[in-house]
Chain length 198, copies 2
């Protein structure tokens, strides 16, 4: 399949892109400053430019979007707004504008994360916008069929424990290789509207 | 208890306010153009003014926030942004700014809605932001204790079937009296971090 990989140069994006390439897929990488196509997809104009360059693809995988981790009382309205724009609205607009650029029975695979269902201290902004992504996927799926859409919702990455481990005490981490398998499951499988727990 | 009722003059707000008043609570009503305090709580300045007037309360109940229902392909980025601001961020900021205005062991009870877990055609914006509210409540609860927070997530109201019934084919509607009981359960009970299904 021809697969558009957004955030392809980030921690998870690299693992996902390499794994899907090893499965024989033709990967088109997208990043803000690197990749086959350079675009900040949270900007609507750059998003449209990206689609012009990408043409029609069989699948889109997404692994980007930063959210501030801080105690609830330290999070501002602007922090929540930024989390929404970078993590939720960017993915929603990607799907919304991509419906005309995806092959019949193609798929979108978005990224959410464990705090929406299993909250952690300092993760309330992440929980909120990941919950939005999970619910968006469930709802959009019933209007997009036969185009499919799923989200992969990982725990803290094993490879990121040095940076994020303290936010997830006692959580079982997930190897990036297994996160990549979650994306493969969505892309090569037939499920839609699901939150995939890798 | 002294209870601040926001959106007190809307369809659900009236039922909630009257039910809690009938339970003997001292209700302070808030609306954009009516009520004991007049404020648009989605505006940060007006929100701060509201708290100045309200002082300290034992509980806050919220039933406001409009979201556009339309087919996914007809929803714009601005529609999703508006839904987020009116339904999710307004409630998040209410809690965030209200932590210093609530009595020890007080509570916030927010409103989400059924599309986040049981999606309907034309309800993807509603699903998304209600999913955000549900996840916010789960996550905020663990940092706010002993202050409590829950969301009431109703099906379509029996009293609104003429307007919204076609969006919810075969859904069992819920009487506003039972939605009000959901808020009572949150306010007078001891649960926190829950999505209450009335």
């Amino acid at each position: 399949m021809k697969i558009l990989s957004i955030g392809a140069h980030g921690t998870a994006g690299r693992a996902i892109t390499e794994h899907l390439a090893s499965r024989g897929h033709d990967m088109i990488t997208v990043g803000r400053t690197r990749g086959d196509i350079q675009a900040d997809v949270s900007d609507l104009n750059q998003l449209q430019d990206m689609w012009q360059q990408a043409g029609t693809v069989d699948a889109v995988v997404y692994a980007a979007g930063e959210v501030r981790y801080a105690e609830f009382q330290a999070l501002s309205s602007a922090d929540f707004e930024s989390a929404w724009q970078q993590k939720a609205l960017a993915q929603i607009n990607l799907v919304r504008t991509g419906l005309d650029h995806i092959a019949p029975r193609g798929s979108f695979t978005l990224m959410s994360g464990i705090p929406s269902r299993d909250p952690v201290v300092s993760g309330v902004a992440a929980a909120t916008v990941n919950g939005a992504v999970d619910a968006f996927v469930r709802a959009a799926a019933i209007e997009m069929a036969p185009i499919r859409i799923n989200a992969v919702s990982p725990s803290v990455f094993t490879e990121s424990l040095d940076t994020f481990g303290d936010f997830f005490p006692g959580f079982i981490p997930v190897d990036l290789a297994d996160v990549a398998r979650g994306f493969q499951k969505s892309v090569e499988g037939a499920a839609t509207g699901q939150t995939i727990l890798p």
